[in-house]
Amino acid sequence: MMRHELLLTAIALIVLMVDLGLKPGKKKSIIPVTIVLFALHTIAGFLPAEAGELFGGMYRTGSLQIMMKNVLNIGVLIILLQSASWLKKPENLEKISEYFILMFSTLIGMNFMISSGDFLMFYLGLELATIPMAALSAFVHHQTKSAEAGIKLLLSSALSSGILLFGLSLIYGSVGSVYFSDVAASYSHAPMQILAFIFFFAGMAFKISLVPFHLWTADVYEGSPVNVTSYFSVISKGAASFIFITILYVVFNSIAFIWKDLIYVIAILTMTIGNLFALRQKNMKRFLAFSSIAQAGFILLGIIAGNKTGMTSVIYFVLIYIFSNLGAFGVVSAIFNATGKENMDDYDGLYHTNPKLSLLMMLSVFSLAGIPPVAGFFGKFFLFTSAASAGYYWLVFIAVLNATISLYYYLLVVKAMFINKNEQPIAYFKSDLTTRVALMICTLGIFFIGFWGQLYEIINNISIGILN
């Protein structure tokens, strides 16, 4: 029943054991072993599994949870493939196994969060997902920026965990139980319960980096190594959105009228401010960081719907977002590994030297912007559909306008690569096999998910709306 978590723990332990057995000069061989193991784990995730509860209802699993975990697994697999060539660099050779173990620990934490049946398990998962993340972001500890990112993440997430925990304690105080089912059954809009909810909401908003709790994002994203940044902006954000929507729908369904108003305002703020900041960024990582804040705002449009369509659209969007954002990050990481450059000006004239990378980058940013026929269009369209299904037409309108603003800065990337002239563009380089496989997976995902209409149906069959 706990297949995902157990397998992951096993893989982490195997990595540790293999690492101990290898001589210092031979550590490189961990990389393929781990990737193969994780690929097997990803495939194993799709095998049929039974639903059920463990530890007296603290841990719950079912097809919905398994789907969410599988979506995250696919993303992590792509990230592992992308980080292989970076890990092979001499300065990282000694820390390869740490990278994997830290990443798997956070993933286990996220899996526990997704499967949690009470707030205790939820909090346990949250901390397990957060603390190794700080270590990951400070991975290149001899670089000031990376170390700074680690400390910033640790401090701000400690603060947010504190706020969240305060909210949870108030919930426990007012309900007398931390089980989701008990809380859901007796939650009402008494002032203390609303206060408790607000604290919980603020804590979660930190994790998803919603405005006004987003300020840590840009610095942490910029300071961390590229692959860790992509892990933050895709996996961590995706997992947090999954949990957020589940808890809002399952636990706080009785005060939906409160959180819908809250999300309405925060969605507008998040999209708009994320976009406005993204407009001015010159560093690709910072740029993608702010654009991912805006994307989180779009996810809220699915959450606010409060029905089955809403949850389906969120999962579907996150799945597509994984491919499109990892496509963009994959190109940034490939270029950084080959040349060490990560500013938008450096991309000028890239198409003339590296046409394939440029095309993939273009597809990815078009997908992020929601331009047909690539997958992002479908993801965005269904998010808008779900918000409209609850009657939020003006919110949809503001969101689509924001999508237009975001198109501006995404087009700036396209403009840099295709239109701008450059005396010395980044010279042609060939990425290694793993990077190319990762980019290939992203391209296929971006191209074909939208045309596979059955996928939406599959997700829809296991999604839930607000339970009454």
Binding site: T309, T312, F366, I371, P372, P373, F377, F381, F382, F384, T385, A388, S389, G391, Y393, V396, F397, V400, L401, A403, T404, L407, Y408, L411, V414, K415, F418, I419, G453, Q454, Y456, E457, N460
Partner: protein, 504 residues
């Protein structure tokens, strides 16, 4: 295989074939073959359509094909055509074909150029065959986005600015449109049956009037932006002026028609009650478009700007006619779309060819060109005469029908706006004849122009195709207008209802 799906499939296959070409010559050959097949297919479609109608098939939509795409949301890939869409497909095929030959000499990244151009055309074809609002919207955006690269990479002048402005304004238009379409979707099943995006299904039901009032402006303005509705037309002059020849042709000739077509096929047809109530607002805006565009053309010195403003005026006339909501005017609107599509494409093609020779588009730097390049000069005069509505050419048929239709409304408001709009004919004559006078007649201003060569074979092919189509419509408008008329009947019945609300 459904014949309509081929219209999307052939461009895609052509694009795939282009990726395998090795040189510019191969690329343009493949493109020309692909789009030539498309043109033949369009001609075949017209004949097949007429044959079906003659054999008594009176279904609203012909050649329909339906496949479920997203079962949960009841999104289908549904295609089908009536006389109006067949006419628009014919127009698109002609303009794209002419556009390929007008860009015969694009050397810089020629593969990418033709790929983007054909991708754009596949979006346009897809839009015209769609009966499902979702696919329609998808193709609509697909037709817009290649413009950015086409203008930004191969354009001239302030191309990056124009490309960005055009893309963002059109995408903002699709923001409005998306809200409108989603609103229609969620009101498409008043009885609690399954929601649908299918246009013919939605046309059978009545969307609640409050929702119509709310959604109609979104949808109409959303399409109107692409149809250069005042005051949202500002992307058009800049965009057209900076775009390379074939792109201007396709954009002014076909893409702007998506706006007019969508405005009545979606906005007005599905929400007729709100359309009748709010028509007066948009009638005022479109009559401003018509007159303002014409005046704008007078003061311009750049050939492309002149033609771009003239497009604003003529496309305004399309929306103007559509809003008159009677059989005659709407018939005129469709003929105007086709007529303007052909002649503006011809204009832009000629401007591109003249610019390629003189390296300037400023009319006061040129003169007497008729003496050195008589073929291009004569064709320019033909295009100009069609534009100012000379009988025997397509412009006359279109404008005549529109104004006869709009004059059928006897109230003061409609009379006033009709007279205002009619004045554009005179203003059009002013700027067309002025350009012809300065550009083609008079003394030759630059010795360098004495050695200009007249049109070569691919330029002649491109222009003659368009001239033939223009004169065909001008001389024998009946078969076109018959084809359109039959299909307009159900639309007009639903839209006109009990007559429109008037301002006075």
């Amino acid at each position: 295989m459904n014949i309509l799906s081929l219209f999307v499939l052939i461009p895609i296959l052509t694009i795939i074939a282009i990726t395998f070409t090795r040189s510019m010559k191969q690329t343009r050959l493949v493109s020309a073959v692909g789009m030539g097949i498309q043109l033949i297919l369009a001609a075949a479609l017209i004949f097949m359509y007429l044959a079906e109608r003659r054999s008594g098939n009176m279904a609203e939509m012909l050649f329909t094909y339906d496949a479920v795409w997203f079962p949960t949301l009841n999104i289908h890939y549904t295609v089908g055509v009536d006389g109006i869409s067949v006419a628009m497909i014919g127009l698109t095929a002609i303009v794209v074909f002419a556009g390929i030959f007008a860009s015969w000499t694009v050397e810089f990244l020629s593969r990418e150029f033709f790929i983007s151009l054909i991708l754009l055309s596949s979006g346009v074809f897809g839009f015209f065959i769609s009966l499902d609002l979702f696919t329609m919207f998808l193709f609509y955006e697909l037709a817009v986005i290649p413009m950015y690269l086409l203008i930004g990479l191969w354009g001239s002048g302030p191309k990056e600015y124009s490309a960005m402005k055009l893309t963002l304004m059109l995408m903002a238009g699709s923001a409005l449109l998306l809200v409108g379409l989603l609103g229609i979707y969620f009101n498409s099943a008043p009885g609690g049956s399954q929601l649908t995006f299918n246009i013919t299904e939605i046309a059978k039901i009545q969307i609640p009037i409050e929702m119509q009032r709310f959604l109609f402006p979104f949808t109409f303005i959303g399409f109107g932006i692409l149809g250069a509705l005042f005051p949202f037309h500002t992307w058009s002059p800049d965009g057209h002026a900076s775009a390379p020849t074939a792109v201007s042709m396709l954009h002014a000739g076909v893409l702007m028609k998506l706006g007019g077509y969508g405005a009545f096929r979606v906005a007005m047809y599905l929400m007729p009650d709100a359309a009748r109530e709010q028509a007066w607002i948009f009638i005022i805006l479109t009559s401003i478009s018509v007159v303002y565009g014409a005046f704008g053309a007078i003061v311009q010195k750049d050939l492309k700007y002149i033609n771009a403003y003239s497009s604003v005026s003529h496309c305004g006339l399309v929306l103007f006619a559509v809003l008159m909501m009677n059989q005659t005017a709407m018939n005129g609107a469709v003929i105007q779309m086709i007529s303007h599509g052909l002649m503006t494409a011809l204009f832009f093609a000629l401007i591109g060819m003249i610019y390629g020779r003189t390296h300037t588009r400023m009319i006061n730097e040129m003169g007497g060109l008729m003496k050195v390049i008589p073929f291009l000069g004569v064709v320019y005069v033909i295009a100009g005469l069609a534009s100012l509505g000379l009988p025997g050419l397509s412009g006359f048929v279109a404008e005549m029908t529109i104004f006869v239709g709009s004059f059928q409304h006897t109230d003061v408001f409609h009379r006033v706006v009709t007279i205002m709009a009619t004045s554009s004919i005179v203003i059009t004559a002013v700027y067309i004849l002025r350009v012809v006078g300065i550009l083609l007649l008079g003394p030759i201003k630059n010795d360098h122009y004495l050695h200009l060569k007249d049109a070569v074979w691919y330029e002649r092919l491109s222009t003659i195709t368009l001239v033939l189509a223009i004169t065909a419509i001008g001389i024998a408008p009946l078969w076109l207008s018959d084809m359109i008329n039959g299909s307009l009947v159900p639309l007009v019945q639903k839209i006109a209802g009990n007559g429109i609300v008037s301002l006075f």
